[in-house]
Every structure is written in C-alpha cells, then in structure tokens.
Symmetry: none
C-alpha cells in the first residue's frame, strides 16, 4: 500500500548489512554535498562519488534524484518531527508552543545549511506532493492553537510556522549556534503575535 508514487519511494529495502551501510553512506554523502556545494552542486554523480559508491549503486536504492532528496528530507526531519509531535502533545498549550519552538530552533542550528536547503527543496511541487500531509507541522501547530481557543487557528498556525522558519533559517545562515537564545527571540515574536492579535 504505497502512500506515494513508487518512483519516489526507496527502491529496495536493504537486506544485508552491507546494503544498510551503503544506503546510509549515500544519504550522508547527499547531506555533505548539499552542505558543501549547495543545490547547484547537488547531483547524483557527485553524491555517489562522495559516498565512495558507483552511480549504479545509488540508483539501486533510490530510483530517482527526487527519491534521494525525499529520503534525505525524511531522514533529517525524522527526529525533529517526532520531537515536535511530542511537544505539541503537551497538556498545557503554552508549554507545547514554547517547547515546539525550542525543538525547531535546536533542529535548525544542528546542520543549518542542510536544513535551509532542504526547506527549499521541500517547496518543489514534486517533493511536496510526495510528503505525507497528515503529519505535517502545520497540523501540529494548528492543534496547539485550537487548544488555545483561537478561532483563526489555521491562519495563525501558518503565520507562526513562517515566523519560526524565517527566523531559524536566517539565524542558521548567519552562523548562530545557541538554540536557547534563538528560541527566546522567537518566543517573543510568537507570543506578541498571539497577544496583540486579540
């Protein structure tokens, strides 16, 4: 029951230990290439070379460049997504919000260039379509805001995510390293937004 088109899912599940290692090496190589050379230098041959694998091996596991990008996206966001979901599930909505922001700041400053470029890739139509909409961050944020009793929760959720993403991207780009400080500043903007907007 493939939830997304076959061409974007991983081509074969690695059965041997060697395979799992190769897949991991390719994904990490993709991350490194993206960080080092940006979207411009992000091509499958470069990734394979960096992974110490052949181009054929890459394509045994990822049926297309988009599938590779998607897999990297999911790998990078996996832990983030879980932590964000856990934050959103906290009983007190204020605590949920603050924790969500903190988690976001920490994630972004981990590998800032990678996160920023993946954010960009996430905007591409093909990738977008393949992402699991049900679990996206906006749903989490919307849940928090509904519990806060906001009638404009959908719009506010979109705005708050835009603030978070905008500020974390910029901070990462500038080379900031302290997630606590960044989270503190995001909190100010977010709480201001919620308080001042009725």
């Amino acid at each position: 029951m493939p939830a997304r088109p076959a061409v974007l899912s991983i081509r074969k599940a690695p059965r041997q230990r060697r395979s799992a290692h190769t897949v991991e090496a390719i994904l990490e190589a993709a991350a490194l290439v993206l960080e080092a050379d940006g979207l411009e230098g992000f091509n499958t041959n470069a990734v394979a070379r960096r992974a110490g694998a052949s181009i054929g091996t890459l394509y045994q596991y990822f049926p297309s460049k988009d599938a590779l990008t998607l897999a990297l996206l999911q790998r990078e966001e996996g832990a983030y997504r879980e932590a964000a979901a856990a934050a959103a599930a906290l009983p007190d909505w204020r605590e949920a919000l603050v924790t969500f922001i903190h988690v976001s700041a920490r994630q972004q400053l981990e590998r800032p260039n990678l996160a920023r470029l993946l954010d960009q890739e996430e905007g591409r139509p093909d990738i977008r379509a393949a992402l699991d909409k049900g679990h996206s961050f906006i749903v989490l944020m919307d849940g928090i805001l509904e519990r806060a009793g906001r009638s404009d929760s959908k719009l506010a959720a979109a705005d708050l995510l835009a603030i978070i993403r905008g500020m974390t991207d910029a901070a990462g780009e500038r080379g900031e390293r302290d997630p606590d400080n960044l989270a503190h500043r995001i909190n100010a903007a977010v709480l201001g937004y919620l308080n001042l907007l009725i």
Copy 2:
C-alpha cells in the same frame, strides 16, 4: 575599478531608445518565465524567446545568466528599496517601522511568486556576493531600531527582516491578496518581539 565583478554587471548601458526597450523586454520576459515555470524553467533561451529577442541579443546586454538574474533582482527591488528607504526616514521610529512593514507586504503580494523565487536566488553565493551591501534593507532596519534606542539593533534588525520575509513569502505562496491584513499580522509579531525582548 568596478565594485562588483564585471561578469555580473550589465554588459553595456543602453544608449539608444531601442536598446532600452530591448533590455526592458528581456527583464520582463525573465520575470514572466520565472512566474510561469519556476526556477526549473528559467533558462536564457526561454527568456529570449519570450522577449521576442534572439539569444544573441540577450547576451549582448547580459553577459551571463547570473547577470540577468541580478538585473531582474535589482529591477524588482528598485521601487521597493526606495519606498522602504523613505519609510525608514520617517521621523517617528514607530511610524517608520509600521510603514516599512506595510511597504514590504505590498511589494511581496504584488507578484508573489516572482518575489519568492527571487528571494531564493538572492541566497545563492554568487548573487549574494554581487549585491550591493551598503544599501541593503538591513541597514535601513538597523537605523530604525537604533533610533528606538535598542542596543541589540543589529541582531534585532536581522530577526525582524526574517520575520517579515518569512511571513510575506508564506502569505504570497498561499495566495493571499490583501496587504493590509498581512501587514497587520506582521506588526503584531514585530511589536511583540520588540516589547517582550526588553
């Protein structure tokens, strides 16, 4: 001694009226292609075709694709930059800030897809290096915040611009059309940031 590498500056200043018209046609074609087909479809041959010019003509005015991108960036931001500078020059810093935000919201919703894609291009190292740092928006914002008596004006300016850019990009992408409403929401976040952060 040119302030930026020759290969990114416009190749020749159009002297005749016909030339000026051609340059303008190419720039507008670049904008249209970018809006219609995204970064994926943005190539010099497509731009020339859309402009009704030959590829050779395009290269007579723009020595490289990056130079074309840069020129478009500057054309699109020209009016915005002036309006933003005027806003920043208002005597009352609060009024300056609110006006700056309003100007930004209006600019972004004018041609949202174009603005968003150009924002992305602006992030590329080559383009970035060629942009005139002296006149960038951060200087304007920093000026406003200094007059507001903030000691952290540099960092706050960066944060506020990130908020503005993040929210306007997302709003444009969602298809919002009303700059007043958008500006209102941005104000809340920005003022909250300034009030809550001592």
Copy 3:
C-alpha cells in the same frame, strides 16, 4: 494544428540555408548509422558524430530520438508513399496492383538494410501512434481490392502487404538487386492468393 504530439514533430523549421543542410546531414547520418551498425548502434551521439554535428545541434532539430526516427521514416517513405498512391490510383485494378508491387520492390531494394530496420521501428508503439494512419499503405491496397470486387478486402489487403513486405525484406537481406525479378515473383504469390481464394 499539430496532428501528432509535439515531442515527435520536428523541433524547428530550418530558416537559413545552413540549417536545412544540417537537418539533411543528420537524417542521412541516421540512415548511414542504421545501415552500418543496425538498431544496436543507432544512438543519437553516433548520428551526430557521423553528421559532423554536435549532439546539441541534433537536438535543436529533433526533440527526441523517436522524432529523429520518425523523420527518417517519413523521408525514406516519402517518395515510396507517393508512388504507391499513384499506382493505387490507376484505373485498372490489376495494373494498379502490379504497379504497386513493382514500386514496393524497387523501394525496398534501394537501401535494403535501411528499409528493413525502419520497418522494424515502424512496429514500435510510439512510432506507430505518430504515423498518419489515413495515408497508410493498407488503405491503398484495400482500395485496389475493393475495386477488384472482393468482399474480404480488409483481410486480403493485410495479407498481401504481409506477402510483399515479407518477400522484399528477405530479398533485400539476401542482397538481391533486381527489382523486376523480385516483383515478378511477388506477383505470382499475390495473384495466386487472389485467384485461389475464390
């Protein structure tokens, strides 16, 4: 009003004399490669090389390999198709049939390997779909047989074309050179078919 999908039609009509020459050179190179190396060696890079053109030039005129194949098919069959139509239009159906066969034999022995390989390509679904069904040879043959008063004209037309194609292909492959002799033998089979089958 493109009767067939754009991706299979020629990409641009050559405007300058140089272009027309290039297109012709590429088509002839395609024919030569096909004759020399068969379908196995028929790739766009080889064709371009043989034409003394770059691969980019090839793709300026033919948007895909299939489009090139199709254009070659049409070039090779152009004169044949006209001659066959003229034959089929002869008042006496017997004369029409005999002339049709003669024309077919001559065409096939002209460049036998090329004709045979193009016959094969003609069978591929993509190519087939793009070919103009209205003018295909079976329609011509069907017309002749209807005038001969046959009630089974559709089936008979298919059979006779199969006989003609089968015999001409084999003759060409064996290196036969005399179209008159070949046509004579085809006539025997075809007339036998028509006489003996009621």
Copy 4:
C-alpha cells in the same frame, strides 16, 4: 571444438533436477517478459526477478544475454522444428508443403507476440551467426521443392519461407487465433507462386 562461440552456448549442462528446473524457469520467465514488455523491457534483471531467481543464478546458466536469447529461441523452435522436419519428410511433396505451412501457422499463433519478437532477434547478426545453419527451415523447404522438381529450389524456398513468415507474423500481430484459416490463405499464396512461376 564447439560449433559456435562458447559465449553463446549454455554455460553448463544442468546435471541435477533442481538445475534443470531453474533453467526452465528462467527461459519461461524470459518468454513472459518478452511477451509482456517487449524488447524494450527484456533485460536480464527483469528475467531473473520474474523467474524468482537471482541475477547471479541466471548468469551461472547463461553466460550472456545473447546466450539466453539464443536458448529461448531454440526452446521455442524446438517442437516446431521437429514438426516441420516431419512434415517435410512426407512422401508426397504437396502434402509435405501443406503440412509444413499448417505447422508453421499453428506455431506462430500459439504465442504470437513471443514468436514475432524472437523472429526479430533472430535477425540480429550475433544471434544469426550462432544459429545452426544445417538444420534451418530453408533446408527443409528446399528439400520439398527439389522433390517437386523445381530447378530454382533455393530461391523459391527462400521466397516461400518469407511468405509464410510474413503472413504468420502479421496475423499474430493482428490477434488472429485460427491457424486453419491462416494456413488456408498461405496455401493460396504459396501454390499460386509455384504454379504461376512455371
């Protein structure tokens, strides 16, 4: 001293029953892939997958793709070849000829797509060279025609086989199912050829 190059012969004669079964599974998988996906989809990995074997196993029995193709060709033609030889051995040459044709029609309509594609593969130089000339159908047909007292037996044999192959290929491609009817029509052409050509 092998009659054909080692690389095209089967790699090892299957000694154990399991091996024989594997070889058969691979050959049938090759047939199925060819029928389902055509020459375009006919690749060794797909065949192995369909056979439920690994690619390594395939290469243990068939040293190359061509060897696999050749083996399939021989498997498919095995029964046909025997039946055709039996037909050709009938005392009355007319009966031999008619039976030969009937056998051919039946064979072709059995698995029409497979037969047609294998006919095509049979035309490739490499495959051709490896086929055992001594037992080919043309020898059988030549024998029949010699007994019919024809001096042009070699040429006539080639022509008649071309007629038979052309008509059966086309009939199979059109989806015909009745070998009797097809054989009847082929008879007409063949007898016409023999009668009319002195």
